[in-house]
């Protein structure tokens, strides 16, 4: 009766949960951040694949992933796979969240905290996959996942560089970064000189006013 086979989804969530919790255990910096949002429940609806996943931050060292949850969520976000991929890899999740097509209900704090904790982790997917599916299958899937993530990172960097080059060189729509920095420096320099000139003028005006004032 459900659209997705719950066993398949459970397999993916179990592997992700185990990898995430192992990584959290080994990343003491994340404990304080997670502690601040512990007890919160996030719902994530990915409209592209008609899938909803729930993330409960149980404690500062434990995160629970679920395919089904009947509790009210503290935060619920809805968006496409592309939106969430952009958010997951963003250096500025708050800005990405505002500028993306993601719909948000509730507080964004726990979502941004979790994104920042995950973004800083280098998760080893092999151990939980091997534990879940055995040595042979688990290793093959982990290897495929590593290749995919490497490809994804490479593709992202390459796409960013090519888009940037097109906008600057071919389209002439945006100035190169170095040129822009030089422009900003020049503006800064003009602003400082203007301030100094203004200050000099004010001093001279004050002196002139003092001379004109009868003793």
């Amino acid at each position: 009766m459900t659209q997705h086979d719950p066993a398949l989804l459970s397999a993916a969530l179990a592997a992700a949960e185990q990898a995430l919790n192992q990584a959290v255990t080994l990343a003491p910096y994340s404990h304080q951040e997670l502690d601040a949002v512990s007890g919160t429940l996030l719902g994530i609806e990915i409209t592209t694949v008609d899938l909803t996943v729930y993330i409960e931050i149980v404690t500062d060292t434990e995160v629970r992933l679920m395919a089904h949850c009947e509790r009210d969520t503290d935060t619920f976000v809805r968006g496409t796979l592309e939106d969430f991929a952009a958010l997951a890899t963003s250096y500025d999740p708050a800005a990405t969240l505002i500028n993306s097509g993601i719909e948000l209900e509730g507080s964004s704090t726990s979502l941004i905290t979790l994104q920042q904790v995950i973004a800083r982790m280098e998760i080893d997917w092999e151990a939980p996959l091997v534990e879940l599916l055995g040595d042979v299958v688990g290793h093959q899937i982990a290897e495929g996942l590593r290749r995919f993530l490497r490809w994804g990172e490479g593709a992202r960097t390459s796409l960013k560089r090519q888009v940037s080059e097109y906008l600057q060189e071919e389209g002439g729509l945006t100035p190169p970064k170095a040129e822009l920095e030089h422009f900003y420096d020049a503006v800064q320099s003009v602003a400082m000189r203007t301030e100094r000139a203004q200050s000099q003028v004010e001093k001279l005006l004050a002196k002139a006013a003092a001379r004109e004032t009868p003793q």
Binding site: M1, D5, P6, A7, S10, L13, H68, C69, L132
Partner: protein
């Protein structure tokens, strides 16, 4: 028509299924006990063999669907080695209670030891109980789970009514059980696996091909998805539905006490 519906109709013949064999109704319980006495020490290994390890995922989804929360009372019937009970113990917390029930003393012994090893103590009671006559007060339990146990019960309709009696109004029953594959091709592959490979593995690993053959046969004699759904409705459960998992090899049925 599924066999379970038939066996309810012709109850006066005093026989029931034990795998593919018809046996005396009174004898079935002790015969099932014999199977589980034989496999108790290797029960987890058996589940891994029968499901390819996927039973952990089916149980994980069962726990999610239970919506168990702090302070609740959960009854896990045919709880076997206590893997569901251990998880529920954490979810209901010290204010809640988990009752691990099984008709088989050998299974309960393994389950109790396993729970102690996992540190799951304090809020768990272990009770030897027959699902057909549960020794608990009316309206005393928030959620009942029975995972891979209903097919071994002699009178399933009686057991379902007993569960309904024990549940609080609004409480839910979750029945996780092997069922009927939704694809004919998968069904054929599954049959080959169940009747050729599984007994051979049972012989090699547990030196007990007969018990494993019974387990495969009992799965085939168990009511299919729609039949079990109808039985739950007949017993008095409301909002009944089921989720097929792994192509219908397993189904998780859910019903609420009105």
């Amino acid at each position: 028509m599924n066999d379970e519906a038939t066996s309810s109709a012709d109850r006066d013949d005093d026989t029931t299924d034990f795998g593919f064999t018809r046996v005396d109704r009174e004898a079935k319980a002790s015969m099932v006990r014999g199977v589980f006495d034989s496999v108790a020490s290797r029960y987890d290994l058996m589940n891994d063999l029968m499901s390819g390890g996927v039973h952990r995922l089916w149980k994980r989804y069962t726990i999610e669907l239970s919506a168990a929360r702090s302070g609740q009372t959960i009854l896990d019937i045919a709880g076997g080695t206590g893997d569901l009970a251990a998880r529920f113990s954490r979810l209901v917390g010290p204010e809640g209670k988990v009752i691990l029930a099984d008709i088989n003393a050998a299974m309960l012994e393994v389950g109790r030891d396993r729970l102690i090893d996992k540190g799951a103590t304090g809020n768990i009671e272990v009770v030897q109980a027959d699902a057909q006559a549960l020794p608990f007060k009316n309206n005393s339990v928030d959620c009942i789970t029975i995972a891979f146990g209903l097919r071994n019960v002699t009178d399933k309709a009686l057991a379902l009514r007993s569960m309904l009696r024990v549940l609080r109004p609004g409480g839910r029953l979750l029945v996780l059980e092997f069922s009927k594959p939704t694809s004919a091709l998968l069904g054929k592959v599954y049959d080959q696996y169940s009747f050729q490979i599984l007994p051979a593995m049972g012989r090699l690993i547990a030196q007990d091909a007969d018990s494993y053959r019974y387990l495969a046969e009992s799965i085939r004699k168990h009511p299919d998805q729609e039949t079990l759904l109808g039985m739950m409705e007949d017993a008095g459960f409301g909002e009944c539905r089921y989720h097929n998992m792994t192509g219908g090899i397993v189904a998780l049925h859910q019903g609420f006490k009105p």
